[in-house]
């Protein structure tokens, strides 16, 4: 199994004057290719910080992070931007689509910033259209986000996350802004991606969402408290008690 994510003693310390807060206190995780992992934990547990570092949006204070074998923990802002473009697809709770920009153009966005093997506008459009088809939204390609429902918006975001064929998909509370039914549809889509071999790391605080994954990592106070097979939601609740 190829390790997509491998961290060694990852720490993140926020300094506020003399007071220093350790958001992460030495995290070791390994996530292999094809895994669907939920990252859980109460607020303040460091799960957002871990998510940001794993998503190459932030840099650890110390420790190592290898993304698909590549040491990214020492990289600068520019290098991280390139890595995000090449290897990571993001799905956010609040969708984060560009307003007044069609679904198609939103999906094309990562291709615009692609530096190696730059595509012609026609090729970009073709790829973006294919990604929209994959999430079942080809017929809405020319609609702006405000003309789409929440579920449709999230599907546009998923298409955008997929379009550059990343090694890792980071999903941050992907169902958090959706009703249960739509949330289940989105989870269904993520399962489909997982079945096709995508590696997905999903941050969530909802146990029944986490229960749908194959593995859960629970953070408490910036450390990994639990790491194992996801349990059915009711079992997890009992554990928590």
């Amino acid at each position: 199994m190829t390790a997509i994510i491998k961290t060694e003693q990852l720490t993140k310390i926020y300094g506020m004057g003399d007071i220093q807060v350790a958001a992460l206190g030495g995290v070791d995780v390994q996530i292999n290719e094809g895994e669907f992992v939920a990252v859980m934990g109460p607020s303040g547990s460091g799960k957002s910080t871990l998510m940001n570092i794993l998503g190459c949006l932030d840099r650890p204070t110390s420790g190592h992070y290898f993304l698909a074998g590549q040491a990214v923990s020492g990289m600068d802002k520019v290098q991280l931007a390139v890595i995000r473009n090449q290897r990571i697809g993001f799905i956010f709770q609040s969708f984060n689509l560009l307003a007044r920009t069609s679904a198609l153009r939103n999906v094309m966005l990562p291709l615009v910033y692609k530096r190696q093997g730059q595509l012609s506008p026609a090729e970009r459009e073709e790829k973006a259209m294919a990604a929209l088809e994959a999430v079942g939204l080809a017929d809405r390609a020319h609609h702006d986000p405000n003309e789409l429902s929440g579920g449709q918006r999230q599907r546009v975001a998923i298409a955008r996350a997929l379009v550059n064929d990343p090694v890792l998909i980071m999903a941050d509370e992907p169902t958090g802004n959706l009703d249960t039914k739509t949330g289940n549809e989105i989870m269904g889509l993520l399962h489909k991606l997982h079945e096709r071999g995508r590696t997905i790391v999903m941050v969530t605080h909802e146990p029944d969402i986490a229960a749908q994954t194959e593995r859960s990592i629970v953070l408490v106070d910036g450390l990994v408290a639990e790491d194992g097979r996801s349990q059915p939601a009711n079992a997890q609740m009992m554990n928590a008690k």
Binding site: L57, A81, V82, Q86, G117, D165
Partner: protein
């Protein structure tokens, strides 16, 4: 996408290490794409963009119009100086100095007899004088009031470069005898006689009947004089008939100005000095006390040149300030725009936009605002110059280099004032930016 492309892409992903990443980092994304993103930013808020551009539009338009006015003024002056005649010296009584100079109560003035003194100087090719007044002129049933009467000498056409189109100018004989003859300016002839031939006709000036013996060729306005509306008569006739009596008593045969034509090969400075010396001697004063100003064409060119240069410098400052204000306007809106679009910046960063990509995007947007503003300003400036030239007395000449200058300054303003907001955008932290509401 073809299978070949897929494998090629997979290959890139597999070996994306070290050097490969460096190449990617060094690669700039397509400038066309950046322009497109920036352009979308401009057109997304059309009204705001237009208002932002307003400063630049006004600045650029002002530069072009002001330079066109200034160039028009210069062209007019250049033509007028050319029209003055060649190698001329103008001798004029300078006001405010004349009275004190004489000492004994007698004012030292420029009089008709001074011509003889001036003509005795070597190097003087010809002289003429003028004394003007205005009179009511009648011809048949046409009556014109306030017609400028130019009393002068037979040398006038040569010295002042006026051609006689029909008939002839008066001669020395007629001058000496104050013969009642007149030469009409081209426009005056038209007004008095229409298409009919004025030569041989008689006109009544004031109460005196004059015979028309010639019509001058068209010359237009030179200096402040409209040559075409003048009525030329022997200066002696003006002294005898047309100066108001109360004025005549103390004015005598005073003249307004003596024009001296200097021989082309003569030394202008030397001739002027000698004229001054002789005039001073004849009037029994020192050269310093002589209350006359001596001006050459070159003096006039220099004076006018200095005036227009000062004028143009002033305009340049005004235009520069308005461009500066325009630039500050752009910076202001770009700063607002960066704050407003923090989320967008975060989204772009999350999908792989580098700080440089973001900087370029906002810089290009500022540049586009100023360039589009510049273009509109150029159109406004050119149109405004035409409008000014055709609807007012002001003459305008559109200077092509002023368009380049104004447009170039607008671009420079865009880059200069766009840089700070663009840099601010580039330095945003992706996490903070994504969290921005």
């Amino acid at each position: 996408m073809t299978t070949a492309q897929q494998t090629a892409q997979a290959g890139v992903l597999e070996k994306a290490e070290g050097g490969d990443l460096e190449t990617a980092v060094a690669t700039i994304i397509n400038p066309l794409e950046i322009s497109r993103i920036a352009w979308e930013g401009v057109v997304r808020n059309k009204v705001r963009s237009l208002l932002t551009m307003l400063g630049v539009i006004i600045g650029v338009g002002a530069v072009i119009i002001m330079i066109a006015i200034s160039a028009g003024t210069e062209a007019t002056i250049a033509e007028q100086i050319e029209g003055l005649g060649s190698n001329l010296v103008f001798i004029q009584a300078s006001f405010g100095r004349g009275g004190a100079g004489g000492g004994g109560g007698d004012q030292v003035t420029l009089v008709y007899d001074d011509i003889a003194v001036v003509e005795s100087v070597g190097g003087v090719a010809g002289t003429t004088v003028d004394q003007t007044t205005s009179q009511t002129v009648k011809a048949g049933d046409v009556t014109l009031t306030d017609v400028p009467l130019m009393g002068t000498t037979p040398d006038f056409p040569e010295v002042r470069d006026v051609a006689v189109a029909d008939g002839r100018f008066f001669n020395e004989n007629e001058l000496e005898r104050s013969t009642k003859v007149a030469i009409l300016g081209a426009a005056l002839a038209e007004q008095l006689f229409g298409a009919a031939n004025p030569i041989g006709q008689s006109i009544t000036v004031g109460t005196t009947k004059l015979a028309v013996i010639g019509v001058a060729d068209e010359k237009g306005i030179v200096g402040n004089t409209d040559f075409d509306s003048l009525l030329y008569v022997p200066i002696t006739l003006v002294f005898d008939k047309f100066l108001p009596t109360q004025f005549r008593q103390f004015a005598g045969d005073r003249v307004r100005i003596i024009y001296v034509q200097v021989e082309p090969e003569a030394d202008m400075e030397l001739v002027i000095q000698q004229i001054q010396l002789k005039l001073a001697t004849s009037k029994d004063v020192t050269v310093d006390e002589l209350p006359f100003t001596m001006q050459t064409q070159q003096d006039i060119i220099d004076t006018e040149g200095a005036t227009t240069e000062a004028f143009r410098n002033l305009l340049a400052w005004v235009a520069g300030v308005s461009l500066l204000v325009g630039g500050i306007g752009i910076m202001n809106i770009m700063l607002v725009s960066v704050t407003e679009r923090t989320r967008e910046i975060g989204i772009r960063q999350s999908v792989g936009a580098t700080p440089n990509d973001i900087r370029l995007q906002f810089l290009t947007e500022a540049l586009m605002l100023s360039l589009v503003g510049g273009l509109i300003g150029v159109a406004l400036g050119v149109g405004g110059s035409f409008l000014f030239g055709s609807t007012s007395d002001m003459r305008t000449v559109i200077v092509p280099s002023s368009i380049a200058l104004a447009f170039g300054s607008a671009a420079a303003v865009g880059i200069f004032f766009g840089f700070f907001p663009a840099n601010k955008a580039a330095q945003l932290d992706p996490i903070e930016a994504l969290r921005h509401e």
